[in-house]
C-alpha cells in the first residue's frame, strides 16, 4: 500500500514536472524536436524551428489561460 501510494506520488510529480498545467505545450515541443531531428538528418538547417514553436506556444497558452 505504501509502495503504491509512493509510486502514484512519484508519477504525479513527474507529470506535474514535465507536463504541468498545459499538456499542449509539451506536445508541441516534442513534435518540434521530432521534426527537427528528421530535417537535420536530411541535411536541412532546422535550428530555428523549436525557438519559433516556443514563442508561438507561449502566446497560445497565455491566451488560453486568460480566456479561462
Amino acid at each position: 500500500m505504501f509502495l503504491l501510494s509512493w509510486l502514484i506520488g512519484f508519477g504525479r510529480f513527474w507529470y506535474g514536472f514535465i507536463i504541468g498545467d498545459d499538456w499542449t505545450v509539451a506536445a508541441a515541443i516534442l513534435a518540434g524536436l521530432i521534426v527537427t531531428a528528421i530535417l537535420n538528418s536530411r541535411g536541412v538547417a532546422a535550428w530555428w524551428l523549436v525557438p519559433v514553436i516556443v514563442v508561438v506556444m507561449v502566446g497560445v497558452s497565455l491566451r488560453r489561460a486568460s480566456r479561462a
Binding site: 510529480f13 514536472f17 504541468g20 524536436l33 537535420n40 535550428w47 525557438p51 514563442v55 507561449v58 497565455l62
Partner: protein
C-alpha cells in the same frame, strides 16, 4: 606561454563557461524555490559526478553526451516554459508595482511541508550535465595534450571560482521579487533547454555557444511582448501608463 600554461588556461576558460551555466541554474532555482532542496540536489549531483568520474576515469571520453543533452535539455525546456508562462502572467498582473515588491512580501513558490523535489531535480540535473561536460573537457584536453594534471587543476579551479562568485551573488539574487525571478529563471531554463536539446540532436547552431545569447535575447523580447499584451488584455493599458 608553455604547454602546461596553455592547457591550464584553456581548460579553465572552457570549464568556466560550463560552470557559469551550472551556477546560473542553481542560483535561480535556489532563490525561487528555497535553498535546502536545491543544495541537496547540488550535493547529490556532485556525488553522482564524483562516482562517474572515479569509475570511468579516462573512459569518460566515450560518454554519450549527445543523448544526455537531448534528454536533460528537453526536460529543462518543457519545465522552463511553465515558469516562463507563469512569470509572464505574474509580472503582467503585478506590473511596475510588482517589480517594487520586496521578496519577503510575496508568497513563496514552495509552501508544502515535505521536501521540494522540483528544486532538487532541477539542481541535480544542472550539476550532473554541466559537471559531466567539465569532466569531458578536462579529460579531452588533458589527454590530447599529454597534460592531464594541469587540465584537472584548470577545470577544478574554474568550478571553485565560478561557485564562489555565485555564492557572493546569492544575497543579491534573493532580493529580487519572486514573480520577476520566476520569469527570469524560466527564460534561462528555456534558453539552455532549447540549446542543449537541439545540440543533443546533432543540430549545428549558428555561432556555436554564441547562439545561447541569441536565444536569450529572443525569449526576453517574447516575454516583454506578452507582458504588454497581457496587461492590455487585462487592464486596457500598457505597462508604461
Amino acid at each position: 606561454m608553455t604547454g602546461v600554461a596553455v592547457v591550464l588556461l584553456t581548460t579553465f576558460l572552457a570549464s568556466a563557461v560550463e560552470a557559469v551555466e551550472m551556477v546560473t541554474i542553481v542560483l535561480g532555482v535556489g532563490a525561487t524555490r528555497g535553498w535546502r532542496a536545491t543544495f541537496a540536489g547540488v550535493g547529490a549531483g556532485l556525488l553522482v559526478l564524483a562516482v562517474v568520474v572515479i569509475a570511468f576515469g579516462l573512459a569518460l571520453r566515450a560518454t554519450p553526451i549527445g543523448p544526455l543533452r537531448l534528454v536533460i535539455g528537453t526536460l529543462l525546456l518543457i519545465f522552463g516554459l511553465q515558469w516562463f508562462r507563469k512569470g509572464v502572467r505574474r509580472v503582467a498582473a503585478h506590473g511596475l508595482a510588482g517589480l517594487r515588491l520586496r521578496a519577503a512580501d510575496e508568497p513563496p513558490e514552495w509552501i508544502g511541508d515535505g521536501f521540494d523535489w522540483t528544486a532538487f531535480v532541477l539542481a541535480f540535473k544542472g550539476v550532473v550535465l554541466e559537471g559531466l561536460e567539465v569532466a569531458f573537457i578536462v579529460v579531452s584536453f588533458g589527454v590530447n595534450a599529454g597534460q592531464l594534471g594541469p587540465a584537472v587543476i584548470g577545470g577544478v579551479a574554474a568550478l571553485v571560482v565560478v561557485a564562489a562568485i555565485g555564492a557572493a551573488l546569492r544575497g543579491l539574487v534573493t532580493q529580487i521579487p519572486r514573480s520577476l525571478l520566476q520569469l527570469v529563471v524560466g527564460i534561462l531554463l528555456t534558453t539552455f533547454g532549447t540549446f542543449w536539446s537541439l545540440e543533443g540532436l546533432g543540430v549545428a547552431w549558428p555561432a556555436s555557444d554564441g547562439a545561447i545569447l541569441g536565444l536569450l535575447a529572443l525569449y526576453l523580447l517574447t516575454a516583454a511582448t506578452f507582458i504588454t499584451i497581457e496587461r492590455r488584455r487585462a487592464f486596457g493599458y500598457s505597462p508604461g501608463t
